[in-house]
């Protein structure tokens, strides 16, 4: 077992799926079997994924824990490290450390309804929450998903998402989709297919489509920074209590263990490290930590 928390662990890429022009779904298997077996995580936790000679970047795990000992990451080609990862092939080596962060408290949500709200790449950690909830379907009440995309071409996890969209009721999830590009023919087709579940607009517009959430609902948000403000306004209109709203945050990180200082948020009253105190926070945390959202 490793003794140096900064030491990267070897992993092989077992599968690569090109999802969009800029996003790939990368599946990896950790090399050290003992480490892989001890690798226990909850949705919302992340790994620092690296390429030797290039560097490391924090990437959230987009699956729920499974027996395959494989981990999936939805990786947008957005920076130096992710660009290098995009150039790798099946069988190539990547390096990981983690899992880091707190993750979503799936046990806290038990016995409650779930309203999952995701925009863009924010669907990656939310997908793990959804998988977990569906694997343990009996532990949760109603599950609704609001997913906002810019257009069909940029939709992530298309197979999964379209399956939830079309057959969601069988899986036990009400799946709603919004698209921003009015000219998008495929999305328009989906809206014609189920006009009660799909519409043109922002993800926040989907609040018009859903039934009023019960008092026993936890809202769980994943998306770009700008999305939080508008989503929270909608949730406040529905009288969500701030401790019933969860969100996951993005920040620059170098270590993942609360040392390098990059991910710091808050004021003298409320300093937090997104890497170890988060990346999952409640709205109550955000209300008490200026600059968090």
């Amino acid at each position: 077992m490793k003794v140096n928390p900064l030491e990267p662990m070897k992993a092989k890429i077992t599968e690569i799926e090109t999802m969009t022009e800029i996003e790939k779904l990368i599946t990896i298997k950790l090399h050290d079997r003992e480490y892989a077996e001890s690798f226990s995580y909850t949705p919302g936790q992340f790994v620092t994924l690296g390429v030797m000679g290039v560097g490391e970047a924090p990437i959230s795990i987009c699956t729920a824990q499974n027996d395959e000992l494989e981990l999936e990451f939805c990786i947008r080609n957005a920076g130096r490290v992710t660009n290098a990862i995009h150039k790798l092939k099946v069988g190539d080596t990547v390096w990981g450390r983690g899992p880091y962060g707190n993750g979503f408290p799936m046990d806290v949500y038990e016995g409650n309804d779930l309203l999952l709200i995701a925009g863009g790449l924010g669907i990656a950690p939310i997908r793990g929450v959804l998988q977990y909830a569906l694997q343990n379907r009996e532990k949760y009440g109603d599950i609704s998903v609001l997913y906002g995309v810019r257009c069909y071409d940029l939709m992530l996890f298309k197979d999964d998402m379209l399956d939830y969209f079309r057959n969601g009721d069988r899986h036990g999830v009400k799946f709603y989709l919004s698209y921003e590009d009015k000219e998008d023919q495929v999305c328009y087709g989906l809206a014609c297919e189920r006009d009660d579940r799909c519409m043109h607009g922002m993800v926040t517009d989907l609040f018009k489509k859903i039934d009023r959430p019960s008092k026993k609902t936890y809202a769980i948000i994943g998306g770009p920074p700008i999305m939080y403000k508008f989503t929270i306004m909608q949730l406040e209109k529905l009288n969500f209590r701030p401790e019933r709203v969860y969100m996951t945050l993005e920040r620059r990180m170098r270590c993942g263990v609360g040392q390098c200082g990059h991910c710091i948020v808050g004021t003298g009253k409320s300093i937090k490290y997104v890497c170890k105190d988060g990346p999952v926070f409640t709205l109550w945390d955000a209300m008490n930590t200026k600059g968090m959202i």
């Binding site: 003794v3 140096n4 928390p5 900064l6 030491e7 990267p8 070897k10 030797m52 000679g53 290039v54 560097g55 490391e56 970047a57 947008r76 957005a78 920076g79 130096r80 490290v81 992710t82 080596t93 390096w95 770009p224 920074p225 993005e250 920040r251 620059r252 170098r254 270590c255 263990v257 609360g258 040392q259 390098c260 200082g261 990059h262 710091i264 948020v265 808050g266 004021t267 003298g268 009253k269 409320s270 300093i271 170890k276 200026k290 600059g291």
Partner: protein
Amino acid sequence: MLVKVLAKSSFSSFVGALGDYGDLYAPVKTSEKVHSFKEIESLTDIDLSYTRTMIPPKKFFIHPEEVIFEFNIDEELYIEPPGGDERIVLFGVHSCDINALNLLAKVFTEELPDKYYLERKERSFIVGVSCVPDEYCFCHSTGTSYAQEGFELFLHDIGDSYFVRVGSLKGHEFIATHPSLFEAAEQSHYDSFKDAERKMYASFTNELEMAGLQDLLDMAYESEVWTEYGDKCLGCGSCNLVCPRCRCYDVEDHINLDLNTGERVRKWYSCMLSEHGLVAGGHNFRPTARERIRNRFNCKGSLREDMPNCVGCGRCTVFCPAEIDYVEVMKKVRGDLK
């Protein structure tokens, strides 16, 4: 607390004995305004009358730049560089800096112990020395003008001799192996020690009221004070480098010309640089000097590690090229200054 007395006449023998433990580092005057902890060749190099060094002693534990792994791409290996076995003596460290090291130790050793920090701490011998505050010192405000722990020996100047507090087993062993250097402390020594402390405490001219500062910083989040000083700030990051408590680091992979081997390097970093809050894709969580300076002062004022993140050493004020005065900014936050 074990206490001994060291006669000043034994000073050179004492320093010589310290040198037996390991390489001896002490404050040396390197230019008119700058002192630095340097390796000591001759006793006369040591200047214990210094107020502060420019670079704090954190440099001995978290190096400004250090290789944390060597790697080999073909062999798929990250190799930890050998830790080294050199032992060091830091002689003449002030209370503020010892308290700062105690704070660093919390971050680097408590939850996920940093092996590089731990190894170096293990091989060090810290000797504190009492000091006389200048117009920039405000460690009495931050509660760090006295070091309770984090040293082997602490020397308080009481005139003809030093009142020596023993802070660790290593310190005790040093005394036990050099019995001729020390004498037992008598009542008069205790009295002189208390007098000296009282005098030191009374000589502060700079002061920062700390009570409730965390709430006041929170309330000042949208204050104009951040625009005012953000506009002054040059974004050079000097304040971070000279701060004994700043510990942000960056990590870089350096690849050699063979495109196969290289090093992962960790180096000091600064929250006042624009890239500190930048993420891939171009979003910057602290895009202007206003957000960055606000973040720095909030971080300094926080009690996140159970004590203030500032030890009142005055370095950031003394070495700021834009002449931003830390205490002045905090006083504006408090509303003591308009």
